[in-house]
């Protein structure tokens, strides 16, 4: 009996000592992003989201100081991301891996997270399969099927569109978007009358738009990467007279980013997009977030990357609070499963089965609000899960 008590006391002391010790050393988060190269802007926006969270919530949680270690992949290089993750774990001794703007980065780092047992917070990479690559991955951004499957259903059930044409960029995300939209649309009862794929780097859409025009569908669904393409396709649509209300134009939110809207001008009016984050959404939490973000970034407005980084940090902070500073991957991922919170984007939670994000999908239409083009929310679809998980 005495021996047992002694053991318990010693164990207890040991535990107390170990938590006291861990309370003093900083908690390191290794952030892997394409800080240089063609995706640097996305990385900077995401980083600004992380920084804003730290600036507004302090860099201490559960008695531990948060230290961010940044690493650059230079682009979608899986091997570099893997090496950086390895080094962060074995050399820098990070407790959590985070960031990942691009799917290949997340795929590269996933085996390291699985082997080292570290929580890995995916703050952007939007391919379904990412979270299935390691049991320690949690995603706080969005998935392409999540947005577009619900959008496809909505297009037939609510908007009453019977026939649609799809026009997507010929690469992974484009194929995913096409498949998800078509599936949602046809399962609801609509018909896809035609589909075309445009080269990823193609500034001239006129031939493709002409084909759509010839098919004369009720609606056309478009997916192109951000950057210069939204404006180019907007112009091509206007030139060929393919515009609402005669033909409905559907797209994923990137097409009508504030920057893209500026260059598209009037031609953007009436375009309907699906997205998880709407800058203009009037909500106290969002207004506060946008104000703080623009103040901290020389007037630059937050976008999907910013919100992914911001919510990713929120998840890390809340998980650490729940585990009382225990940063082991198992404890943190348990704490993250099922976690729900109010984000500037709206309500969101983590599906305990897939560790993927569940959130409201907003359907927005470009309208003229006091002389300014804005994404105005016309419909909300709450609690949307990624439809592909568990299906293959």
């Amino acid at each position: 009996m005495l021996g047992r008590t002694a053991t318990v006391v010693v164990l207890g002391l040991g535990l107390a000592f170990s938590t006291a010790a861990s309370a003093q050393e900083p908690l390191k988060i290794g952030v892997i992003l394409p800080y240089s190269g063609p995706f640097a802007d996305a990385a900077n926006q995401l980083q600004a989201g992380i920084d804003l969270y730290l600036a507004t919530h302090g860099n201490e949680v559960a008695g531990r100081t948060i230290e961010i270690v940044r690493r650059d992949t230079g682009g979608p290089a899986a091997d570099v991301a893997q090496r950086l993750a390895q080094e962060l774990v074995v050399r820098d001794g990070v407790d959590i891996l985070a960031g990942f703007a691009l799917t290949p980065e997340a795929l590269g780092a996933a085996p390291v997270s699985a082997e080292a047992g570290k929580l890995m917070v995916v703050m952007n990479a939007a391919t379904s399969i990412v979270t299935e690559q390691s049991p320690y991955i949690v995603r706080t951004s969005v998935t392409i099927p999540q947005l577009n499957y619900a959008f496809g259903q909505w297009a037939h059930e609510v908007a009453g569109v019977g026939e649609a044409y799809t026009l997507v960029a010929d690469y992974g995300p484009g194929h995913d978007a096409e498949a998800a939209f078509s599936r949602g649309f046809t399962e609801a009862g609509g018909t896809v009358v035609g589909s075309d794929r445009t080269p990823v780097a193609n500034p001239d859409f006129s031939a493709f738009v002409q084909r759509v025009r010839d098919a004369n569908p009720e609606a056309v669904y478009i997916f192109v990467p951000g950057g210069a393409q939204p404006a180019a396709i907007g112009r091509a649509l206007a030139d060929r007279g393919l515009a609402p209300p005669d033909t409905a134009i559907f797209a994923q939110g990137e097409l009508t980013h504030p920057e893209a809207l500026e260059s598209m001008g009037e031609t953007a009016l009436g375009i309907i997009t699906t997205f998880h984050y709407t800058l203009e959404r009037d909500d106290p939490l969002n207004n506060e977030f946008v104000a703080a973000y623009t103040a901290a970034n020389n007037g630059r407005e937050p976008d999907l990357f910013s919100i992914g980084g911001y919510d990713g940090m929120h998840l890390i902070f809340e998980a650490l609070k729940a585990t009382d500073g225990d940063a082991s991957g198992d404890a943190l991922v348990e704490a993250a499963k099922g976690m729900s919170w109010q984000s500037p984007r709206g309500p969101m939670w983590i599906d305990p089965e897939t560790r993927d994000v569940v959130q409201t999908v907003y359907i927005r239409e470009i309208q003229d609000v006091d002389g300014e083009l804005q994404n105005v929310i016309i419909h909300e679809i709450p609690d949307v899960k990624d439809p592909l998980h568990g299906s293959n």
Binding site: N44, G74, A78, Q82, P104, Y171
Partner: protein, 331 residues
């Protein structure tokens, strides 16, 4: 070093060539230095592995660019083919690393042999354009064949077996670096033998004056085809090493960036010298690692400055500059 010029020197060419192939103390030291990460910097093993792979790739490009004068901006094509080949056979159930590596190298070599017929038809600017075009074509092909390659998402489901059924690829990178270093060393020995042979001399002849080679009875096209095939095979081996040690292949393996980076490495280290390729890979990746650690956004700025300084003040690369210093001191 009295009989260094084989055209005017009095030494018997065979003796001269043997002397060229002799190992110097510097070389032995350099290879011993390659072992230090195991003992002194075990946390840098993943980086050392990446350097070894980049060095192997740089050697493959040096063989054609530095020795045979084939300027290429699309050699990532063979790197990527090797990587995808090794990756795809492991997805379809053959994860044995060494045979996988050899098959990947052979596959890249075969494609290289086919491509070499096109390569030897053109020169100068057209050559750059053809290699560039082949690189882009392969990239687009891999993108389009996403059912096989996984497209932009990258290849999934790779399953590599332990080396010799014994050594698992560990998180620290011990197995990876050992494996890559051994492959690098073997390929280096082969390349070294090659460039110090009469075949190597013929290649240098092609580089210096392609019109004179037929005049002295040398079948320069066949030489070029041979070296291009060998180079493609070595690049394929490097790609396969990357696939096997990281267990992941994405389109980035075929990217223009990779083709361009390797040329930058060669220019930094010094073309036409095998050690220049290794030193260039080392400097490029170390500089990248250190500069990116300081500033993840603008590290390429540092590389750019380094490249300009090297090109302006050391036109033969860092190694060429150093060996120039040594031989001047020796006089």
């Amino acid at each position: 070093m009295s009989a260094t010029d084989p055209t005017t020197g009095t030494t018997d060419p065979k003796i001269w060539m043997r002397r060229q192939g002799r190992w110097s103390a510097f070389e032995i030291l350099a290879w011993l230095a390659a072992l230090t990460p195991f003992f002194l910097f075990p946390t840098y093993l993943p980086l050392a592995n990446q350097i070894a792979i980049a060095a192997l790739f740089a050697i493959s490009v040096d063989l054609i660019l530095g020795y045979a004068g084939i300027v290429t901006l699309g050699h990532a094509m063979f790197f990527g083919l090797g990587a995808y080949f090794a990756g795809i056979i492991s997805v379809y159930g053959w994860g044995e690393p060494i045979t996988g590596l050899l098959m990947a190298g052979a596959f890249a070599g075969l494609i290289g042999f086919i491509a070499s017929f096109l390569i030897t038809r053109v020169q100068h600017l057209a050559l750059i354009m053809v290699t560039l075009g082949l690189g882009f074509l392969t990239l687009e092909l891999a993108n389009a064949m996403s059912w096989l390659t996984g497209g932009t998402d990258g290849l999934r489901g790779m399953n590599r077996w332990p080396v010799f059924g014994q050594f698992r690829f560990d998180l620290w990178g011990y197995t990876s670096y050992t494996y890559s270093l051994i492959v690098l060393f073997i390929c280096f020995l082969l390349s070294r033998r090659l460039v110090n042979s009469s075949f190597g001399l013929a290649l240098r002849g092609v580089r210096e004056n392609v019109k004179r080679m037929p005049a002295i009875g040398s079948d320069h096209k066949w030489h070029l085809r041979k070296i291009y095939t060998i180079s493609a095979a070595i690049a394929g081996l490097a790609g396969a090493l990357m696939a096997q040690t990281t267990n992941v292949v994405t389109l980035d393996a075929l990217s223009f960036q990779r083709s361009a980076d390797v040329v930058v490495m060669l220019i930094l280290g010094g073309t036409g010298r095998l050690y220049g390729a290794i030193l260039g890979a080392f400097i490029f990746l170390m500089a990248r690692d250190q500069l990116a650690g300081v500033n993840p956004q603008y590290w390429y700025f540092g590389i750019g400055i380094l490249l300009m300084l090297v090109v302006l003040f050391m036109p033969k690369g860092i190694l060429g500059f150093l060996s120039g210093l040594v031989s001047r001191r020796g006089k």
